[in-house]
């Protein structure tokens, strides 16, 4: 039951994030939306883990391991993107002088 709820919530997050990434023009908003989208995907993985639980586990460990790896990758991607945005903002600050 809770697996279904989390799966649907994940799908909703994916929808919001995808909409934002495609529609928003500001880089920072798109980075935030990318993180929303990523969180939605991780939630779907969580739902998959709960659904596929077997062998007496409360949840399937493989999707959980994938979530952990995915979190690290998404964090790295976010820092890279933010670094680029900061670099562009610095250039803009210097331009008028």
């Amino acid at each position: 039951m809770s697996g279904t709820v989390f799966g649907l919530l994940g799908a909703a997050l994916v929808g919001i994030g995808l909409f934002g990434m495609l529609v928003r023009a500001q880089p920072l908003m798109r980075i935030v939306c990318f993180n929303l989208l990523g969180s939605g995907v991780f939630l779907v993985f969580g739902a998959v883990a709960r659904r596929g639980a077997g062998a007496g586990f409360a949840a399937d460990p493989v999707p959980q391991a994938i979530i952990l790896t995915g979190l690290v990758v998404a964090f790295a991607a976010t820092t890279l993107a933010v670094a680029l945005v900061l670099r562009l903002a610095d250039d803009e600050d210097e331009a008028p002088r």
Binding site: F34, G40, V41, V44, A47, V62, P63, A77, L80
Partner: protein, 499 residues
């Protein structure tokens, strides 16, 4: 299919991935000079590993498999190098080696000179990119492929903005956004496939998935994501500014290798994972997008005022040819035509990698000597820098598909497969694309061959960089002299469709 079992020599593809990755970690504390030396010392071992993998596959006639930690899938992860993977490993080793030797001119640290920041960034990134492309072609697990995709992006994006100019940083940010959207869509597809089948090993998945709703959604999401990374036509917008703004050595690896990584994964998805779910409609759409890329990309290249942008749009067009193989391979599974289309697609990936790397290096040399890359002001280039212009022409021959060249063999195979498969319209696209390619290569050559204006720089004795670019172009032409039987290698371990 049963899970893959470990074979002899499985350690070779593993080492081909590990070696550049370990070197990248070591290179960071070594500084620019040390990282340069380390990279150069690894070029030969890396090539030997790729060559050894190819020989092992060719001799045994079967893919080389390594099980990480001796855990067999679905519990463990497998590395599986088939013929296509070996061919891509070899191509990557050659292009990386040529680029590294070429880049010593721009990013090398001369004895006694201070180390620059760009040099410090370039060498570890080149190693990271090499490791990532090797991982993307040998991994046999959908999630490991996701990690490889992300590594490729994280290595390629900084290379695109190495010069730190505002427009290159903007191009890099746009590239990163496309790439992140692509990889997160791919990851969502992976989640759905895991939820359906309970495993992510490609060999295990092969033939197990039917055309259920979650599989269709997953396939659509993963395909869209991978197309964004491969820069197929409607999703190509990031490629020209990113590839044209990068330094020559970086553009060469970006155009030659990075877009091929996601293409190989797409091939594994449709012909490996989804082998049991024939989807001719989807294949025709993919090839249709490829055809649009060939025609529109070439037309856009014809209209470019700048040399680097012309070469970047030519990449958009040449990527289109790769996608023509999909309906041709799937149309008549197990037939001669399917085998031809498969070889044609692989050969197009290899010959384009060599030719485009040569072309970007040659264009970089010309732009450096002239101080600009406006095609209209190229007059006199043939006199002042004959070797780069010759390199451009030879690489152009391969891209056009003029015999004898690697590109000719690739396009001929695709063309005859299209006719044998009864899908003659793709043959027309191949021919039309060749004509348009001839058009934009001629534009550059005719501008370069006109008698020099007063501003043409004095002739310059050619050095190692010129020779390297020419060598790559000659290699891409020489592929066409090999007898076709020697490309049997790429057929080894062709998934799902083997008769």
């Amino acid at each position: 299919m049963p899970p893959p079992a470990a074979t002899d020599w499985g350690i070779l593809p593993l080492l081909a991935v590990m070696l550049p990755v370990l070197a990248m970690v070591l290179a960071a504390p070594l500084g620019a000079r040390g990282a340069e030396r380390l990279t150069l010392s690894l070029l030969l071992p890396g090539f030997v590993l790729a060559f050894g993998t190819a020989v092992a596959i060719h001799v045994s006639g079967a893919p080389v498999v390594h099980l990480l930690g001796h855990w067999s899938p679905p519990l463990g992860l497998a590395f599986r190098a088939d013929g296509l993977a070996a061919a891509m490993l070899l191509t990557a080793a050659i292009v990386i080696a040529a680029t590294a030797l070429f880049a010593r001119d721009g990013f090398g640290t001369k004895p006694g000179a201070p180390e620059t920041r760009a040099a410090f960034a370039f060498w570890p990134l080149l190693l990271a990119l090499w490791g990532a492309i090797n991982l993307a072609v040998v991994a046999n697990d959908l999630f490991t492929l996701y990690v490889a995709l992300e590594l490729l992006t994280f290595a390629a994006m900084p290379l695109a903005c190495l010069e730190g100019k505002r427009e290159t940083v903007e191009a890099a940010l746009r590239y990163l956004m496309f790439a992140l959207l692509g990889s997160v869509l791919y990851l969502l597809g992976v989640a759905l496939i895991y939820g359906t089948a309970g495993t992510l090993d490609i060999t295990l998945l092969s033939g197990r998935l039917g055309l259920d709703a979650p599989v269709i959604v997953a396939a659509a999401l993963m395909t869209a994501g991978l197309l964004a990374k491969t820069a197929l036509l409607p999703l190509h917008l990031w490629l020209p500014p990113a590839h044209a703004g990068a330094p020559a050595a970086a553009s060469a690896v970006l155009s030659a290798l990075v877009v091929k990584g996601s293409f190989v994964i797409l091939v594994r998805l449709w012909f490996g994972v989804l082998a049991g779910a024939p989807a001719m409609g989807a294949m025709q759409i993919l090839a249709g997008l490829g055809a649009a890329a060939i025609l529109l990309g070439s037309a856009a290249a014809l209209a470019q005022p700048r040399l680097k942008l012309l070469v970047a749009y030519s990449t958009v067009a040449q990527i289109g040819y790769l996608f023509l193989m999909f309906p041709l391979v799937a149309g008549m599974p197990g037939s001669e035509a399917a085998a031809k289309a498969w070889t044609g697609g692989a050969l197009q990936a290899i010959s384009h990698a060599l030719a485009k790397a040569a072309m970007f290096l040659a264009v970089g040399l010309m732009a450096a000597r002239l101080g600009h890359d406006r095609i209209a002001d190229l007059a006199g280039a043939a006199r002042s820098m004959p070797l780069p212009l010759l390199t451009f022409a030879l690489a152009g021959l391969t891209l056009m598909g003029v015999p004898p060249s690697g590109g000719f063999a690739a396009k001929w195979l695709l063309l005859s497969a299209a006719i044998e498969a009864g899908q003659w319209w793709w043959a027309l696209v191949v021919l039309g694309g060749g004509l348009l390619t001839g058009g934009y290569v001629y534009r550059v050559l005719s501008a370069g061959l006109t008698a020099g204006g007063a501003r043409a720089p004095a002739p310059h004795p050619p050095g190692l960089p010129e020779a390297i670019a020419l060598g790559l172009a000659l290699l891409s032409v020489a592929l066409g002299f090999l007898p076709l039987a020697s490309f049997g290698l790429v057929q080894v371990g062709r998934m799902g469709l083997a008769p």
